[in-house]
């Protein structure tokens, strides 16, 4: 066996009386990559936050190189050679890329003045290593979520830590970015760095990890070398049962065209035109930064259109705000749930009913609480949202469960057109399947779906047609039958099929 660089023993964590980690053991081996797997809410992020001093553990011991270690904050863990890339982005939007990478460790001259030249030169080095060509002086607010994710990774790498923890680093990355990241990870491994890798994408685990630790409901299920498991076995360990087919696409009846976009143009999107039929799923693929999100948000009334028309049932509609969109039967599940998908400070029930609160209100705006309880219970059940109840604050749910609340909230508005922007980002395999089943269910009920996704297998598995974007333009629309990974990729990079 390899040398253990970190040993966590009997880690228990309670949040206001609720045990989320129970006697968990966890190891990190020198020069190896440990995968940490488990369903949403299994406790993966919490375990890593305990290791890096973000949370205090309730019980248990931590050893670094066989020495007892306990870090009171991120700074201490950094000083001891542990870097972490958190699941949720933690960048300062109003600072530049370079400033973010070196935040807290700015190079200074003898008088304490920041050495800007060096700072930007070094940043450039780190981001270009990850294939990011952005100017390091650019404000983080002005780059897309995917690029922000890369900046976050660059920041962790620049710490030059012995141990690097990556909590779902590829959530916002496309395939080529992910490949780039993997090559960096391999290089680091060759240099004897150790890593923890958390991801819900099992194929990634098989590609780069050496060992796997599986958590389920806060308990450690086991630790195995990658070479000794199959994907099915892993899934069974994670969810405690076998899962059937990955993409259960339902063949529903596809009806007439109910939605049409003509020549939609603004600062993000040029001359976008497409149609959507009743009961159809239209996948939208494209590289990071291809403005898929912006297209969706323009339709949803967040961004203004400079030109173009939108028709629903052949009738032209004017959408100037999300409210108009919802009224027209369109809802949007955001890719960025923390900032605009859900209200973290409100409870599960209140979030689910927010968009369509009117439907459970009396004439004078009185909210019927019993009705609210009833419908939110229903959604919690249907979407298997892991929560202690409707009154649980959403901020205390795990990332994947927050995503489900975000979807529930949009479903409650009973849309005829549902836009899903990266709906399974950060969602575990079991929950993913549930989301796919839900998509099918609504499809069958005649809802039309637009699904933006960076996972091409998911696009291929779930959509009837695939729309591919490249730099703000629609570079092609394919029937799924004719589409394959290569075809989509070549459209995405701007080459014709």
């Amino acid at each position: 066996m390899q040398k253990k660089i970190v040993t966590m023993k009997g880690i228990t964590k309670e949040f206001s009386g609720v045990t989320v980690l129970n006697q968990v053991d966890f190891n990190i081996y020198e020069g190896r990559i440990m995968a940490l797997l488990g369903e949403n809410g299994a406790g993966k992020s919490t375990l890593m936050k305990i290791l890096t001093g973000v949370y205090e553990k309730t019980a248990g011991e931590i050893y670094l190189n066989d020495q007892p270690a306990e870090f009171k904050n991120t700074k201490e863990s950094q000083e001891n050679g542990i870097a972490i890339i958190h699941q949720e982005l933690n960048l300062i939007g109003d600072l530049s890329i370079g400033e973010n990478i070196f935040l807290g460790r700015e190079p200074v001259n003898k008088l304490g003045k920041i050495d800007w030249k060096r700072l930007y030169k070094e940043s450039e080095k780190w981001i270009s290593m990850l294939g990011l060509s952005e100017n390091p002086k650019e404000l983080v607010n002005n780059i897309s979520v995917g690029k922000q994710q890369l900046v976050e990774i660059a920041k962790a790498l620049s710490l030059d830590a012995k141990i690097i923890i990556m909590d779902e680093p590829t959530g916002a990355l496309t395939i080529s970015e992910t490949e780039k990241l993997f090559s960096v990870i391999r290089k680091l491994k060759e240099q004897n760095h150790s890593m923890v890798y958390i991801s819900h994408r099992l194929e990634e685990i098989f590609k780069i990890c050496d060992d796997i630790t599986v958590l389920r409901d806060g308990e450690r299920i086991g630790e195995v070398p990658v070479s000794e498991v199959t994907e099915d076995k892993l899934i069974e360990m994670m969810v405690g049962r076998r899962l059937e087919e990955q993409y259960p696409k339902a063949d529903s009846e596809i009806g007439e065209v109910i939605f049409e976009v003509k020549n939609l143009t603004n600062s993000f999107v040029q001359e976008a035109s497409f149609t959507l039929r009743k009961g159809e799923t239209l996948g939208i693929a494209g590289l990071m930064g291809s403005s898929r999100t912006e297209l969706a948000r323009t339709i949803y009334g967040i961004y203004k259109m400079d030109r173009g028309e939108i028709f629903i049932h052949g009738k032209k509609v004017h959408i100037n705000s999300p409210r108009d969109a919802i009224k027209a039967g369109i809802t949007y599940v955001s890719e960025d749930r923390k900032t605009n998908g859900i209200v973290l400070g409100m409870n599960v029930g209140e979030n689910i009913t927010l968009t369509s609160l009117k439907s459970i209100c009396g004439r004078f705006g009185h909210v019927y609480k019993s009705k609210e309880e009833e419908v939110s219970q229903e959604y919690i059940k249907n979407l298997s949202i892991k929560t202690s109840g409707t009154k649980q604050l959403v901020k205390y749910l795990s990332g994947g469960n927050q995503q489900k609340v975000s979807i529930a909230k949009n479903l409650f508005a009973e849309p005829s057109i549902l836009i899903l922007d990266e709906p399974t980002r950060g969602v575990d395999v079991g929950a993913k399947k549930e989301i796919y089943n839900l998509i099918n269910k609504f499809k069958k009920a005649g809802v039309s779906i637009i699904m933006i996704s960076s996972e091409i297998p998911e696009i291929l598995g779930m959509s009837d047609r695939v729309l591919v974007m490249h730099e703000g333009c629609i570079s092609g629309i394919l029937d799924t039958e004719q589409a394959d990974q290569e075809g989509i990729m070549s459209l995405a990079v701007g080459k014709g099929v």
């Binding site: 705000s321 998908g341 209140e350």
Partner: protein
């Protein structure tokens, strides 16, 4: 259990204050003094209720004191010139509402930061009041309506002062809005996450206008009470009242960053401040020391109630 204590910390401060006073002063625990405290609290309580709305959405309304002053002056003038009491009240409330709506428009459509927008209207309206009153108090005169109007400030109904009824009605209405109406839900949502609220199809502009409108309306109601009690409107009435109202709201456990808080808390906060003022007088604390005591109690109370989350 721990949760119950956490939630009721403002109440604990209130109790400590009451118990201490029971030992320190004989006159404190009397029915009469109880009514006096309630009546004195009512003005701040009414303003603080509007302030609670503003703070819940992550905003603030610094203009309340000036709104109180201009509305009070106009009410006094109307009554003095023989306008019917009911009509006077309606006009005054309407004015307060209108000013509040202007604040709301500046903040929503004008996209101004609430602190600075209401700092602007606070300054502007104080100027208007000085111009309108020419720096002198306006009496309500001695007419029949004036006497009736005075009852709003000093009258009794079934042994309880009229302003206390007003305060209670305002509390109940605000509680109902926040707890049971859609608008209340939107107020909390807006205060917690504005962007998500917009994405949920809620007209946040309307919510903001409602909130500042309500705050203006309640400030004018407070102006009516003050003017009725004194039988005259002072040009510098209400200055500094915004700070008392904010203190009441925060002592009541509402977070200045929005989204968290309740009217019940504000009621307790207003009572703490009312009792504190009463206590300082009853205990004959020399004037120079009163500010010291007030500052210390505010700090003590909020330190006790500090949130888990770090503030900036």
């Amino acid at each position: 259990m721990k949760d119950v204590v956490q939630k009721n910390k403002p109440l604990i401060v209130l109790l400590i204050l009451c118990i201490a006073m029971a030992f320190l002063s004989d006159s404190f625990f009397t029915w009469r003094n109880f009514l006096t405290v309630l009546r004195q609290t009512s003005i701040n309580a009414v303003i603080a209720t509007g302030m609670t709305f503003a703070i819940l959405i992550g905003g603030i309304d610094l203009s309340v004191g000036s709104v109180l002053a201009i509305c009070g002056a106009i009410a006094a003038n109307l009554i003095a010139s023989g306008v019917d009491m009911i009509l006077t009240i309606l006009i005054t409330l309407f004015l307060g509402l209108a000013i509040g709506i202007v604040n709301g428009l500046l903040i929503s459509k004008g996209r101004l930061q609430p602190f600075i927008a209401t700092l602007g209207t606070m300054t502007l309206l104080r100027g208007c009041t000085l111009v309108y009153t020419q720096g002198k108090p306006i009496g309500t005169g001695g007419g029949a309506d004036s006497l009736l109007f005075g009852k709003i400030g000093s009258g009794y109904i079934f042994a309880l002062p009229v302003p206390v009824y007003i305060m209670i009605i305002v509390f109940i209405a605000a509680y109902y809005i926040l707890k049971h109406l859609r608008m209340g839900r939107y107020i909390y949502a807006l205060g917690s996450n504005e962007e998500a609220t917009v994405y949920s199809g809620i007209k946040t502009d309307k919510v903001k206008i409602f909130v500042y409108g309500a705050s203006g309306l309640l400030a004018s109601l407070a102006g009516i009470i003050v003017t009725a009690r004194l039988g005259s409107a002072q040009p510098n009435a209400g200055s500094g009242y915004e700070l008392d109202a904010i203190a009441a709201v925060v002592l009541g456990g509402t977070s200045m960053s929005g989204g968290i808080g309740s009217i019940g808390g504000t009621a307790i906060g207003a009572l703490i401040i009312g009792i504190l003022n009463n206590a300082l007088n009853l205990l004959q604390v020399p004037s120079y020391y009163q500010n010291v005591a007030k500052g210390a109690v505010i700090l003590f109370a909020v330190l006790l109630d500090r949130k888990q989350k770090a503030a900036r």
